[in-house]
């Protein structure tokens, strides 16, 4: 059996004797007999580190790690600079708890303050929190924070990632918040419908930019409709795209949210990822989760602390703005190191490369008979095409060539549609190779 208990049995016995006991069992005398287990747990025996390592490697070996990925849909393979992995492997960062004791947690606190600053810079917003679980929970939290006494209806565009819509639905069930879906037209939020749906009870409008199909929404027009109203404009965005695309603040957004995974976090079969949330000064005290602020110690030295805690569950209990306690701090630090390594130009370069590769991929795909763009709108690094044969067959042929092809969209209207993605890691050669494979499928 493996163990991390350092005390030897002799030491354990000594300690037991010191407290006037003779066996371990006596420590648990207080537990009523009728709830005590009378047999060992029916799970396998423990193993040595070497055996566990061997076993887990075998399990990992059952997964396929694709050489080439042309699939995004909320999880993206971008290049992760070596420095990012090194910095975030430091034992102190990994093994610390939430920075309750500020004096010995300045490292974590400062890293979060820097992260908050970077998220504000990316989104153009004024206040960022220290992270929430992921992009969808960030969107759900934004919907909840936009509700007030008069306004309880959330309008969510049909072109938002379906996982996000499902998560919001779960979050608001049982509360007095209602959700209505704004229909889509040509893959984009239908602005005419949106206009008709707005009312005195509308709390917020949520769109995704680029949207689920990779298309660029007319964020300005939507922003214009909501300007000078009390309706909160929520935008879920891809942080890499913000290297070249308009910042949410430039559209007049009130709450910017998104999935931070593209910022240096691995695919990891879906988690841990990073939910970012940023808003205006006006809504600052309604933000959920930890927030780090700068202050001074008694000697006037710069110091960082968890602040605005009157919003939080450990103080407000059932009146808190959210129940969140643990967040995704190490992922937030990962994003910060990534952004420091990339810099403004690096981020813009990654965005431009992703966009250019995706457009090249789209162009080449459309050379093939039967492959067409389903939507004509402008896109960033994802787009939807038809295929010329059974989509499952296309994908399995690609898989045999170690390529993960586009994501087969669900639902009747998307039958045979694939949602493709390219990022800076995809080379022209990879794209050309795949096109040849697709052309060869009979």
């Amino acid at each position: 059996m493996g163990t991390y208990v350092p005390n030897t049995t002799t030491e354990q016995q000594k300690m037991l004797n010191a407290i006037g006991l003779s066996t371990m069992d006596e420590l648990f005398d207080v537990i009523p007999n009728d709830v005590k287990l009378n047999a060992p747990l029916d799970i396998p025996k423990g193993m040595s580190e070497m055996e566990v390592s061997y076993k887990m490697k075998k399990i990992a070996g059952k997964n396929k790690v694709y050489d080439t990925i042309f699939r995004g849909c909320g999880a993206y393979r971008h290049y992760i600079p070596a420095i990012v992995k090194q910095v975030t492997s430091k034992e102190e960062f990994i093994t610390a708890y939430t920075p309750y004791q500020a004096e010995i947690s300045q490292g974590i606190l400062q890293s979060i303050f820097e992260y908050q600053t970077m998220i504000c810079e990316l989104t153009g917003m004024q206040v960022s929190n220290a992270s929430v679980y992921d992009g969808s929970t960030a969107a759900a939290e934004a919907v909840i924070m936009s509700k007030d006494r008069k306004r309880n209806k959330a309008l969510v565009s049909a072109s938002v990632n379906p996982m996000t819509i499902e998560t919001i639905r779960t979050y608001i069930a049982g509360t007095d918040i209602e959700m209505e879906i704004i229909p889509e037209k040509d893959g984009l939020t239908d602005i005419e419908s949106l206009k008709k749906m707005l009312g005195d009870d509308t709390a917020c409008v949520l769109i995704q930019q680029p949207n689920f199909y990779g298309l660029l929404e007319d964020g300005d027009t939507i922003g214009g409709i909501m300007a000078n109203t009390d309706i909160k404009y929520i935008m879920s965005c891809n942080p890499i795209s913000l290297g070249i695309l308009k910042a949410p603040a430039e559209y007049g957004v009130d709450i910017a949210v998104g999935e931070g995974q593209p910022l240096g976090i691995g695919l990891s079969f879906g988690g841990p990822y990073l939910g970012f949330m940023a808003t205006t000064d006006k809504l600052m005290r309604r933000l959920p989760g930890r927030i780090v602020g700068e202050t001074r110690d008694s000697k006037g030295r710069r110091a960082f602390v968890l602040t605005l805690q009157a919003r939080e569950q450990h103080i407000r209990r059932e009146k808190a703005s959210s129940n969140i306690c643990s967040n995704q701090a190490l992922c937030a630090m990962t994003a910060a190191v990534y952004l420091a390594a990339m810099g403004r130009e690096g981020l813009a370069q990654a965005a431009k490369l992703s966009m250019s590769k995706a457009h090249y991929l789209a162009e080449r795909l459309c050379e093939i008979d039967g492959y067409e763009l389903v939507y004509k709108g402008e896109f960033f690094n994802e787009f939807v095409t038809t295929v010329n044969t059974d989509a499952d067959r296309v994908l399995s042929v690609l898989s045999e060539h170690e390529i993960l092809g586009g994501y087969p969209l669900k639902g009747q209207k998307h039958k045979g549609h694939l949602l493709w993605c390219a990022t800076e890691v995809n080379t022209k050669e990879e794209i050309d190779t795949m096109i040849q494979i697709l052309k060869d499928i009979k």
Binding site: G2, Y4, P6, N7, M15, M24, V30, I31, P32, D34, P40, L41, D42, K45, M47, K57, N63, K64, V65, F93, I94, A96, Y97, Y100, A102, E103, Q106, G107, I108, S128, S131, Y133, S136, T137, T167, A173, L242, A247, S268, F269, G271, M284, T295, R296, D297, Q313, E318, A320, N323, C325, S326, L330, V337, M342, G343, G346, M355, H359, T427, I431
Partner: protein, 477 residues
């Protein structure tokens, strides 16, 4: 210390990506960013040194004793991290075809099997990303259960006043009204009071057991049956599971739904605040409401089960904090049946040893000299006599390079310090810490001022928290 924005030079950058090998596409003016992004302009050396400096200003479990009560800051085994870094886990897309992710699904399935046996539950779901998220999910199950039976008037969740703040916050977020239940003078659930508050509107009861003062609820079966008889369900907050692995199980105590904190009991690191993982387990009568997708076995293949109409739906993107679950599974495999029990025994032994050695000096109001895996000290007397508060005591510990206990929790103890040493500490460490605690106790009488002014040796002294909240500075630019 300087911020990373205050370092570097405008022309410094890393060379990370190649030239574009396809025609460059530019963004249409309508979507083009005009607003400048002020990110650091630093070299790799500067990044490396910046974060090394920050790491030196951070206190992790690797730095020293970390008895943060309720948080179970045990040692985080390195093999767990090594396994989580395998490309077969870390470089797998969440939307790959099922036959290419059999290993990932196996991780979830094995972890479910282990945790169901450890807790006495029938199913376990890994979507919740943290403890509070698990609470929210578990409470949604309770809500779905009652609604499915057309028992719609059940809108109240009973929570003891000793509970973690997340309990009432999660209940409110899940759409329930919270009923706070005062504890007895001994720190237990007040069974008579509980009998009085239950009724036709009781949806459920949330309890941590051992409770937040480190005591096992002696009348647990009576408590859970009061709730069941009233038609409610029992929710187990798994924050303190580290005391009872292999010894007792929530499923045998009458709990219907549990959440666990893999970042506490199952040794996964806490990352300075996250990511954690807060799987939710439940008994058979609640499994149909669990979040989807669920993992099932079909013809020898693991697969994602289609959506079922009664599920509460999705609480998160994809399937959960997968790499955290990988670490927890590695840990459970390493320890196995015997090792998990041994871990709990030693967690309780270490806590009782410390308690025993401290009880003649400190006021430990509950438990009559015994505890489970943690205990709570009250410094009310020191506060009254010498104005030395729990905060002063905690800050003074920083100068000894040990992490203070949890302060001012639970709320039912004045000037509380909650000590949870965990099983991964040696007797020598405990003896040193006991000596330090006693030394500080004496100091409170001989030199209280130095304690008011502590810490003296940390990179910064006590920050001005009032100023931080009154005039918030939340970003650099």
């Amino acid at each position: 210390m300087k911020l990373i924005f205050e370092k570097g030079n405008i022309n410094r950058r890393l060379d990370l990506m190649p030239e574009c090998d396809v025609p460059v596409v530019d963004v249409d003016e309508r979507y083009k960013r005009k607003k400048e992004i002020r990110l650091p302009n630093v070299s790799e050396t500067e990044i490396s040194r910046h974060y090394t400096k920050l790491s030196k200003r951070t206190f992790g479990v690797n730095n020293g004793f970390y008895p943060l009560g309720s948080c179970t800051m045990k040692y985080n085994p390195k093999i767990n991290d090594e396994i989580a870094k395998l490309p077969g886990f870390s470089d797998v897309h969440p939307l790959q075809p099922e036959h290419t992710v059999q290993g990932c699904l196996e991780v979830y399935k094995l972890a479910e099997e282990y945790l169901c046996e450890i807790t006495g539950m029938d199913a376990m779901d890994f979507q919740p990303a943290a403890g509070a998220h698990g609470e929210f999910t578990g409470l949604k199950l309770i809500r779905a259960y009652h609604r499915d039976r057309n028992d719609t008037k059940r809108d109240k969740i009973i929570v003891p006043d000793s509970a973690h703040g997340t309990n009432p916050a999660s209940a409110a977020m899940a759409g329930f009204t919270v009923i706070n239940l005062p504890s007895t003078e001994e720190g237990f659930v007040d069974v008579d009071a509980l009998r009085k508050v239950v009724g036709e509107d009781t949806a459920g009861f949330m309890l941590t057991n051992p409770n937040t003062i480190g005591l096992f609820e002696e009348h647990i079966l009576e408590i859970t049956s009061i709730i069941h008889e009233a038609g409610g369900l029992n929710y187990y907050d798994g924050a303190n599971l580290n005391a009872i692995m292999g010894i007792a199980r929530p499923g045998d105590m009458g709990f219907d739904v549990v959440h666990l904190n893999l970042h506490k009991t199952f040794s996964t690191p806490h990352g300075g605040g996250g990511p954690g993982s807060g799987p939710v387990g439940c008994k058979m009568h609640l499994t149909q409401y669990l979040p989807t997708p669920r993992i099932a076995e079909k013809d020898g293949m693991l697969t994602f089960e289609e959506k079922n109409g009664k599920s509460i739906g999705r609480v998160k993107d994809f399937y959960g904090n997968f790499l955290v679950v990988v670490r927890a599974l590695t840990y459970m495999m390493t320890l196995g049946s015997e090792g998990l029990k041994n871990a709990s025994e030693n967690a309780v032994l270490n806590a009782n040893y410390m308690l025993h050695m401290l009880k003649d000096t400190f006021d430990i109001p509950f438990g009559k000299g015994r505890c489970m895996h943690e205990f709570v000290i009250s410094l009310e007397k020191l506060k009254k006599e010498k104005s030395v508060s729990a905060l002063d005591f905690a800050k003074s510990l920083l100068d000894y390079e040990i992490h203070p206990p949890t302060m001012y929790f639970p709320l039912i103890v004045h000037e509380a310090l909650m000590v949870e040493p965990t099983e991964t500490e040696t007797k020598e460490t405990l003896d040193e810490v006991i000596a330090i605690y006693k030394e500080l106790y004496d100091k409170a009488y001989t030199d209280p001022d130095s304690m008011h002014n502590s810490p003296a040796t940390t990179p910064v002294g006590r920050p001005d928290e009032v100023a931080a909240a009154r005039n918030p500075i939340l970003r650099f630019f």
